[in-house]
Symmetry: C2
Subunit: 249 residues, 2 copies
């Protein structure tokens, strides 16, 4: 392998992504950041308009080191969009409530990733079409080919935003109660109450055509599985499909 092709497996550590508080929980390698991102579907994007910060929840997806989200041209962010708009996209998963013997040591188990970069509108029609298929296929493998094709009007009505991750950090707490040594004698109950986000029973559209049943390709979304497990699996399948298309294309 050409040494020029060697790619760092970590994001740079800068003033804005350095984990300040409880830095032992932080990491900067791609694998740690992507593990948090790929387990989610809902992110929060922070951006400023005339000095006023906004924190907007939206669906996102990842291709390599680029994060995408989309919206209507009627949305506030897009109406005020300026080229070179700095943004911060954060994904967080709550995994448990931690009840300690002191209020101070109460905590939560979580996984989060903060990603910094410059948002840009995806104008190129080909890149935009690929992105609009991706948001479906990343979640539901091969689904776009089963759907009524997207129209030119729908493409026009949708704005896709991309943000290459310039720097990022992941922060994870995944452990039991951490009380002060002298507090373990205090007679209070302590422990972790885990929480998880799970898939429920499907609710088929009442207007399904006769003989249409849920396709096998959606079987990953089966009742009782955790959403993050399904999403990570779907991301890996999506990446392998993209690699195969690239190799054969």
């Amino acid at each position: 392998m050409d040494s020029a092709q060697t790619i760092s497996d970590s994001f740079p550590i800068t003033a804005r992504n350095r984990v300040k508080r409880l830095h032992e929980r932080g990491s900067y390698d791609h694998a740690s950041v992507y593990a948090v991102l790929d387990a989610g579907i809902l992110c929060h994007v922070a951006y400023s308009i005339d000095g006023q910060p906004y924190c907007t929840p939206t669906i996102y997806w990842r291709e390599g080191d680029v994060l995408y989200w989309h919206g209507s041209s009627a949305s506030r962010m897009l109406r005020h969009f300026k080229p070179g708009m700095p943004a911060c996209l954060t994904v967080s998963h709550l995994d448990g409530l931690v009840l300690a013997r002191s209020g101070f040591n109460h905590s939560a188990n979580y996984r989060s990733a903060m990603c910094f970069g410059t948002a840009r509108i995806i104008d190129d029609p080909k890149e935009k079409a690929v992105a609009l298929d991706a948001v479906v296929n990343r979640l539901y493998r091969g689904r776009s080919e089963d759907l009524r094709p997207i129209t030119a009007q729908e493409v026009k009505a949708t704005t896709v935003i991309g943000m290459r991750i310039d720097d990022a950090s992941a922060k994870v707490r995944a452990k039991g109660v951490g009380d002060n040594e002298e507090d373990y004698d205090h007679p209070a109950w302590a422990g972790v109450i885990p929480v998880r986000t799970v898939i429920g029973d499907e609710e088929p559209c009442p207007r399904l055509l006769p003989h249409i049943s849920r396709p096998d390709k959606l079987s990953a979304y089966s009742s009782g599985r955790t959403l993050d497990e399904v999403l990570v699996e779907a991301q890996h399948l999506y990446e392998s499909d993209v690699d195969r298309e690239t190799a054969s294309g």
Copy 2:
């Protein structure tokens, strides 16, 4: 009742909180906003430092129209804190994945609330002490009295931030597939895959003192219940406790 005491039950609608996109999903009344806030424990706060937006996940709680969160004085937000810092605190719940017959009509069911205001550091020792009990008792009724009391050093090491909600909006999607009328003949499966965040089996601290079992007051957090249901219930109990203390105090 004195008419001067009549309090509006809605937040004002301003340029920053008006729901622009799919405005039929938006509302501004206190009840709608608080219903979303009270069902959560993890929020995302957006704020800017030198023009760079940050989106920070953190635990929050609500007392009336004031939102609180806390952190270490080592945190980035607090190190750069300036009085009168505008912030936006957003809470979102994902309730389902909506699979339509076109990519364009794919969606998600969700509940979200965006709250705007000016963040301030809670300096008054009495207000701060009340707030640090509240973060425990709002989640776990009456728990602070069972804990090793907070020390002066811990109070000092913790910074509590409060933000009165100046304006806010809630946005909710809670329905089935919404396809274009002409697409219902398209032979694709469509439906909703619900997701919910549920409580798992408790994991007691391995260093519990003998004969310490989980107190009845934590029974709300029982395995299989949804977290948002438990949190809303806990908030109501907390508010009734505060009202009773105020009445007897």
